[in-house]
């Protein structure tokens, strides 16, 4: 549906050629990039800008568990994109199945992170224990927060899917929320590397 249709005479103005929700989500993600730039950037600056020696992450953090968690998040991205494909092809059953899977995977990621946090804090590694603690909890914490938001909205989408809101190839909602979900995954890929592995 476009103005151009109603006014064939007029030169229809090209937007970015992307429907509005998707464009809005991308614009929002640009903002998110800068938000994480602030957090990750500060970590980089504090770690490589200051002369002090930095604790070796692998001695404090539990790499295997987090590696597993990374895998979980990647899986959730796949299930998400599968859900999107299903929505495009109007395969309702598939859509619901993949969405539920995504929610579960996302939730378990948060769960594992909660478990990780509790253990670290028991070991006495807290936000106030040095720059590493400060940056670690801020970055992973805010990523976790984003995942949680994603899980909630995903659950909501699942509900709507069961109400058949995405039937008949109405995939815009799914694609849009999917973009957010993949972005969160993408951020984690970066975080996992520079926080856990360096």
């Amino acid at each position: 549906m476009s103005h151009a249709a109603t006014h064939p005479a007029a030169p229809a103005e090209e937007g970015l050629g992307v429907y509005t929700q998707k464009l809005g989500m991308w614009v929002f993600l640009c903002s998110e990039i800068m938000f994480f730039t602030a957090l990750i950037g500060s970590y980089i600056i504090l770690r490589w800008g200051s002369s002090e020696s930095w604790p070796v992450p692998q001695q404090t953090l539990n790499i295997p568990v987090t590696a597993f968690n990374t895998f979980v998040l990647i899986c959730s991205s796949v299930s998400m994109v599968k859900a999107y494909a299903a929505a495009v092809h109007d395969d309702q059953a598939g859509l619901k199945r993949w969405l539920i899977l995504t929610v579960l995977l996302g939730a378990s990621f948060v769960g594992v992170q909660a478990y990780e946090y509790t253990h670290l804090i028991e070991k006495g590694f807290t936000p106030s224990s040095g720059l590493f603690g400060s940056t670690f909890y801020t970055m992973t914490g805010f990523h976790g927060f984003h995942v949680s938001c994603g899980v909630i909205s995903m659950a909501w989408c699942t509900m709507r899917a069961f109400q058949g809101k995405y039937a008949g190839g109405k995939f815009h909602g799914i694609e849009t929320i999917g973009l957010y979900w993949h972005f969160v995954d993408l951020v984690w890929i970066i975080l996992f590397t520079i926080v856990y592995l360096f």
Partner: protein
């Protein structure tokens, strides 16, 4: 709204791809066979690689109009400018 006509890439393949890369990362990171700065370089490279896969296929940027891609990449230079300036400032 002709942005969906693209055929869907094989998502499962990309999934395995990502999993494999993660495996490589772990190997590189945990069995320290590389000198420190090489290690960092390799890991950053792998991370960007993975991120690229997610962005290109899962977020199907590969199939979006150029202008959108440009718009999305716009913040990155700013981010880099900020971090590099501040970094070299403390790195004395």
């Amino acid at each position: 709204m002709a942005t969906v006509e693209h055929k869907h890439p094989n998502y499962i393949a990309i999934w395995l791809y990502l999993a494999a890369l993660t495996g490589v990362e772990l190997v590189v990171a945990l069995l320290h066979f590389l000198p420190r700065h090489w290690l960092i370089g390799a890991l950053v490279f792998l991370a960007i690689w993975k991120a690229g896969l997610v962005a290109l296929y899962f977020m199907h940027l590969k199939f979006e109009p150029k202008r959108l891609v440009i718009m999305i990449l716009a913040p990155l230079p700013l981010a880099v400018i900020m971090v590099l300036f501040i970094l070299q400032e403390f790195h004395r």
